[in-house]
C-alpha cells in the first residue's frame, strides 16, 4: 500500500521505531475512516495524560521555577520580587557559614565508603552456604525498612548520657561520660554511623542480588582450578557486580549531599551538624529567603547531575536501554 505511506508519514515511522522483539502488526485490511484514525492517534496520549501532567507539574515546573527564583530576592510570600542577577550564587560561595555545610557531607561520604565495604563483605559471605543464612539476611536488611523518625529516637537514646552506648561501654569496664552529640566532630561521626546502620542493608541486598545472578558453574570451575575464596571474589564476584557497585557509589554521593532526616530529627542541625538540605529548608521556610534557598538548591542539583554524568562516562553500563 504505497499511498498509505505518503499520506500518513507517522505510519512509516511506526514500523521503524517498534522494538525489534515485537512482531509487525498485521496491515489494516482497509484504511479506516478519518474519525477512527484520529481516535487511534489520540489513544496513547489518553493513557499518558495523567502521568505527563503530574511529571511536568511536580518535576519540570519546579525545576524551571527554581531556576527563575534563584536569580531573585523573593521571600516566598509577597507579590513583589526583583531580579538581582547572580547575587544569590555569589552569596553562597562567599559566605563561609553557608558553604560550610558541604564539609558536613564529607562525614557522610566517608561513612558511605565504610557502608559499601561492609555491605560487600556480608553479601559475599552470605552468598555462599552458611547456616541461618536467611535469618542473617533479614537482620542486616531490616534497618533499611524502619521509619526514619523511629530510627532517630532509637539513636537519640543510644547516644544519650547513660543510654545504650554508655551502658555497653560500662559493661566492658569503660566508664565514659562523654556527650556523644556534644561536639561538632563527635556529633557528625555519630550521625554518620547512624546512616551506616540504616543504609547498609540496602547496599547489601543489591549486592546479594547481583552476586546471585552470577552463574554457579563459574565458582565450581574456579574451585577445580584451585581458586580460593579471595580469588573467587577478586576475579568472579567483583567484575560481576560492577554495574551495581557503580550505581551504589553514585547513590551514596548524591545521598551524602542530600542528608536531611536523621540529623534534623536528632539534633535539629545544631552543633555543626547542619546539612545542605537542612540549611535550604531553614532558609526557605523559616527565614523566608526563597531566592537564596533556590540558588542553593540549584547548586546541589548541578553537583548531583555532574556526579551522575561523570559516573556514566567512567562506568558505562547498559542500564539506560529502557525502550
Amino acid at each position: 500500500m504505497p499511498h498509505t505511506r505518503t499520506t500518513d508519514p507517522s505510519h512509516a515511522v511506526k514500523k521503524v521505531a517498534r522494538p525489534s522483539t515485537a512482531a509487525p502488526r498485521p496491515p489494516a485490511p482497509r484504511r479506516a475512516p478519518r474519525k477512527v484514525r484520529l481516535w487511534r492517534k489520540l489513544t496513547p496520549w489518553l493513557f499518558l495524560a495523567a502521568p505527563l501532567v503530574l511529571l511536568i507539574t511536580f518535576t519540570y515546573a519546579p525545576v524551571a521555577n527554581m531556576l527563575a527564583y534563584s536569580f531573585t530576592d523573593w521571600d516566598g510570600v509577597s507579590p513583589e520580587l526583583s531580579y538581582i542577577g547572580a547575587d544569590n550564587y555569589i552569596e553562597i560561595f562567599t559566605r563561609p557559614e553557608l558553604f560550610q555545610v558541604f564539609f558536613v557531607s564529607g562525614y557522610y561520604l566517608a561513612a558511605s565508603a565504610i557502608q559499601i565495604g561492609v555491605a560487600l563483605y556480608f553479601a559475599t559471605i552470605l552468598s555462599f552456604n552458611i547456616r541461618f543464612r536467611n535469618l542473617f539476611k533479614g537482620i542486616l536488611f531490616f534497618p533499611y525498612l524502619i521509619n526514619g523518625v523511629a530510627i532517630g529516637f532509637v539513636f537519640l537514646y543510644f547516644f544519650q548520657d547513660g543510654g545504650t552506648l554508655d551502658s555497653v561501654l560500662a559493661l566492658f569496664g569503660h566508664e565514659s561520660d562523654r556527650a556523644w552529640l556534644g561536639t561538632s566532630t563527635s556529633a557528625n561521626i555519630s550521625l554518620a554511623s547512624v546512616s551506616v546502620w540504616r543504609y547498609t542493608g540496602l547496599n547489601f541486598v543489591l549486592f546479594l542480588g547481583a552476586i546471585q545472578s552470577i552463574p554457579g558453574e563459574l565458582y565450581e570451575a574456579a574451585e577445580l582450578d584451585g581458586a580460593n575464596r579471595w580469588h573467587q571474589f577478586r576475579y568472579i564476584i567483583a567484575p560481576g557486580i560492577r554495574p551495581v557497585l557503580s550505581l551504589s557509589v553514585i547513590l551514596s554521593i548524591s545521598g551524602s549531599l542530600s542528608v536531611f532526616e536523621i540529623p534534623y530529627i536528632m539534633t535539629g542541625g545544631a552543633t555543626g551538624t547542619e546539612t545542605f538540605v537542612i540549611q535550604t529548608v531553614k532558609l526557605a521556610f523559616q527565614f523566608n529567603k526563597t531566592g537564596l534557598a533556590s540558588a542553593a538548591a540549584v547548586v546541589l542539583l548541578l553537583i548531583i547531575l555532574a556526579v551522575t554524568w561523570l559516573q556514566r562516562r567512567l562506568v558505562p553500563d547498559d542500564r539506560v536501554d529502557l525502550v
Binding site: R18, L52, F58, I146, Y157, V168, T280
Partner: protein, 285 residues
C-alpha cells in the same frame, strides 16, 4: 607449634568459618541491640526510669503496657495511622494506575514525540526530590493543596518514575500477540489494557505496592513540609511531635517508636522474599 607456623588446610578452614560466623553475629548485635534496648525501655515504668539510668537493665514487668497506652492516646497515634492509611491507599493505587498506563502507552504505541516522552521520564529520575521542594511548595500551595492530605498524595504519585520503569520491563515481556488477538476480537486499547495487560502485570504490581508502600509509610520530609496541622499528622510527623510533650520521657518515646516499627516488622516477616526482590528491582531499574 606446627599448627601455628604451618596450619593444615582443615584448621585454616575451621578458623575462617569461625571468624565468618563471629562477624555475622557481631553485625547482628550491632543491628539488634539499639532496637532491643528501646523495646526494654518501652516496658519500664516512669519510676524505674528515674531510679536507675542503666539502659541495659530489665524492666520490672514485661507486661507493663502503660507507656504504649499513653503513647497511643496522647500521641494521637490513631489519627496518625488513619491519615497514613488514607494517603497510602490513594498514593499507592494512583502510582500503580499511572505507572501501568504510562508503561502501556510507551511500549505498545508508536506516536509522534514518543522518544521525547521517554526522555522526559528518564531525565526526571536524575532530579532528586529534596532539591526542588522550595519551588514545588509554591506550586502545591497555588493549587490550594497545602496542609491537606492531597498534597503528599499528588507528590507521591507524580514523582515516582521508578515504578514506571518497573512496569515497562513487565509490559515488554507480555507477548504482543495477546494484544493482537484481542484486537481482532474487536477489543479497543482500553479494553486490552484493562482485561489483558493490567491483570498480567500482577507481579510488577506487587513489587510497586510493596516498595511504594514502605516508602510512603516511612516518609518524613513531605508530610513534615506540607501538612503542619496537628490533626493531619502521619505516623512520621506524629512520632516527631513526641519530642515536645514527652520531653525526656524516654519510656513513652520508646513505646511510640516501637508502635511505629511493629507494623513494618510484621509486613517484613510476612513478605520477606517479595520485599527483597522488590527492592532489588526498584533500585537497579
Amino acid at each position: 607449634m606446627t599448627t601455628l607456623t604451618n596450619p593444615t588446610p582443615v584448621v585454616r578452614r575451621r578458623v575462617a568459618r569461625t571468624l565468618t560466623y563471629l562477624s555475622l553475629v557481631g553485625a547482628s548485635v550491632v543491628v539488634l541491640l539499639p532496637l532491643l534496648v528501646v523495646l526494654l525501655t518501652s516496658l519500664k515504668t516512669e519510676r524505674q526510669m528515674a531510679e536507675d539510668s542503666g539502659a541495659l537493665t530489665m524492666p520490672d514487668s514485661f507486661l507493663n503496657l502503660d507507656n504504649y497506652a499513653t503513647a497511643f492516646r496522647d500521641g494521637e497515634m490513631l489519627t496518625a495511622f488513619g491519615n497514613t492509611a488514607f494517603i497510602l491507599l490513594f498514593a499507592v493505587s494512583g502510582t500503580v494506575l499511572i505507572g501501568s498506563m504510562a508503561a502501556y502507552a510507551i511500549d505498545r504505541f508508536t506516536f509522534r514525540f514518543r522518544k521525547l516522552v521517554v526522555a522526559l521520564f528518564l531525565v526526571a529520575t536524575l532530579v532528586p526530590g529534596v532539591t526542588t521542594q522550595v519551588a514545588t511548595f509554591q506550586i502545591v500551595d497555588s493549587f490550594g493543596m497545602f496542609d491537606t492530605r492531597w498534597a503528599p498524595i499528588a507528590l507521591y504519585m507524580g514523582t515516582d518514575i521508578v515504578s514506571i520503569y518497573i512496569f515497562l520491563q513487565f509490559v515488554r515481556s507480555i507477548p504482543i500477540s495477546l494484544d493482537e488477538s484481542a484486537r481482532l476480537d474487536g477489543a479497543n486499547a482500553f479494553t486490552i489494557y484493562r482485561k489483558i495487560i493490567f491483570p498480567l502485570l500482577r507481579p510488577a504490581i506487587a513489587t510497586v505496592v510493596i516498595v511504594k508502600g514502605i516508602t510512603v509509610y516511612n516518609d518524613f520530609y513531605i508530610p513534615f513540609l506540607y501538612m503542619p496541622s496537628d490533626d493531619l499528622g502521619v505516623i512520621s510527623t506524629s512520632l516527631f511531635r513526641f519530642q515536645g510533650p514527652f520531653g525526656a520521657h524516654w519510656e513513652t518515646i520508646s513505646a511510640g517508636a516501637v508502635l511505629v516499627i511493629l507494623p513494618t516488622l510484621i509486613v517484613f516477616l510476612a513478605l520477606q522474599r517479595f520485599i527483597y526482590n522488590g527492592f532489588m528491582r526498584g533500585a537497579t531499574k
